[in-house]
Amino acid sequence: MIKLKTPQAGTALYGATITLLCAWVLVPIFLVALGAFGGRPAVYQWPKSLWPASLSFNQLAIFLQIDGVWNAALSSIIAASLTMLFSLALGAPAGYALARFSFRGAFVFRLMILLTRAFPLAILALPLTVLFIRAGLYDTALGVSLVHTALALPFAVMVTASLFAGIPRELEEAAWVFGCTRWQAVRKIVLPLALPGMVASAIFAFVISWNEVFAASVLTVQHRTLTAYLLTVLSESPLHYRFAGGFILIVPSIVFIFAVRRYLFALWGVTNR
């Protein structure tokens, strides 16, 4: 065995690589923030400095005053909130069933949920257009949220299943002994214990909807979500507006991912075993 590096050199190299990879994630976000706060002068400045002279919130405020941006952001928030609501309302009961009962078809159901992740779901927005026009759902935040719920539901089911499985069955049984009905036991014992994880799952559903571009763009015309709005005005908007748009899209997501960081593994770490 030949060791080329001394332990110290190895540790230094290791630390440097980790720092570099952190910079690889963070620096681009910092740079688009500069583009968003710097406005027009900063975008066309050459060569660029890392701290443009005219950095201010005004530029971002001007972007938010553009006709359509506020409404689009509002549509996004409505669609994302509905997605949050639907995915939990539909997902949590299914998660409870998977965690507490062994029943015929449980495996098939679990497989179906996992398979939806191996499917280009957003593409299904294309045929839904015709159906949504007939049902009066086309160009509404509600319609968009239905497609986004299909994207978020598999996560909601798997996360709530793992949450409920982690709460001892004995607690519920004790509640039954003291005269609670099954539903009362769930409401008074299980839900309060599972609440933080359920909030995380809801936040994650919000982020999925907030970030989704394709289905939202296909299903809206007047009431565009923020991503759909940015996509359609992209080619004709000045550069600093594009960067402001990109920055506004990113900020809530970063905050939310920070809030749910403890649950990331329950959300994504479920493998097809």
Partner: protein
């Protein structure tokens, strides 16, 4: 007693019915729509799709992006996962920073890298200070297809490696420490330990990550559009154009069917290639 018999089915019914309605119905509809060619016959929409100038280019771009992005980010994520394992201090912080892109949409990622790589952007400023270029230089138009392609690859790797990382970190945590320690006692080098112990144990996670990422990578659209506009056409982008600009839902449906077939084939290939095969690991 009979109450608990049907209770689980009652509980999964809403989710099942919803997925059925929003998943199976449009799926059948897409397939029917794509084969409804009117006077042109059953395959008229597909013929029209394949006869389009952008079809070949977008098919090629999409496949090239997938075969470039997915292996690179798998390697990167495995490397990051192994580094995290060795980390004793600040593991939480590093993991949080590395997973930030989980919350970044493809559109935002495209805009971020457009800000860096545009003519008067930060990348060109860096090159300028290094003395490599003399003024603003264009990398992202139709005359520079190679750098435009690389830009989309960079943006996609930046955005979507975090998902792979989380799946792999979860998989690494499941490998018992004793396995690696045993390999070390028997004198295995770090490389040999990685190839003979870590990789085989990680196979289910790698399979999940590959399926997840490949399917999503075939849906690449907004990042390419934000960086290169129509200069780098991709399959989903073409489906969008046929639907919205040409108002031709049938050809858009043909694109949708094509994308679904490609995604499902990719999943099937991974399931076959990475099948658990205990006898092969003698």
């Amino acid at each position: 007693m009979s109450q608990t018999r049907w209770l689980p089915y009652l509980l999964i019914a809403p989710a099942t019915l919803f997925l059925g309605a929003i998943f199976v119905v449009p799926l059948v509809q897409t397939i029917l729509l794509s084969f409804n060619g009117g006077a042109g016959g059953v395959f008229a929409n597909y013929q029209r799709m394949m006869g389009d100038l952008n079809f070949g280019v977008s098919l090629r771009n999409t496949f090239l992006l997938v075969v470039t992005v997915v292996p690179l980010q798998m390697a990167l994520a495995i490397g990051m996962g192994l580094m995290l394992q060795k980390l004793t201090h600040g593991r939480e912080l590093v993991l949080w920073i590395w997973t930030i892109p989980l919350g970044v949409s493809d559109l935002a990622a495209g805009l971020v890298w457009f800000a860096i790589l545009q003519n008067t952007g930060y990348f060109n400023t860096l090159l300028f200070h290094l003395g490599l270029i003399s003024g603003p230089t264009a990398w992202l138009n139709s005359e520079t297809p190679y750098t435009l392609f690389i830009a989309v690859v960079v943006a996609e790797i930046w955005r979507s490696t975090a998902v792979v990382l989380v799946v792999i970190v979860a998989g690494l945590q499941l490998i018992p420490k004793e396995f690696g320690e045993a390999a070390e006692i028997f004198g295995a080098s770090p490389l040999k330990k990685f190839v003979r112990v870590t990789l085989p144990m990680l196979k289910p996670s790698l399979q999940s990550a590959l399926i997840l990422r490949t399917v999503l990578a075939f849906e690449v659209f907004a990042s390419a559009y934000a960086i290169g506009g129509r200069n780098i056409p991709v399959l989903v982008g073409e489906a969008y154009v046929w639907q919205r600009e040409n108002q031709n839902y049938s050809v858009a449906a043909a694109y949708a069917v094509l994308i679904m077939i490609i995604s499902l084939s990719a999943t099937w290939v991974y399931l076959r290639l990475l099948r658990e095969n205990p006898e092969a690991q003698a």
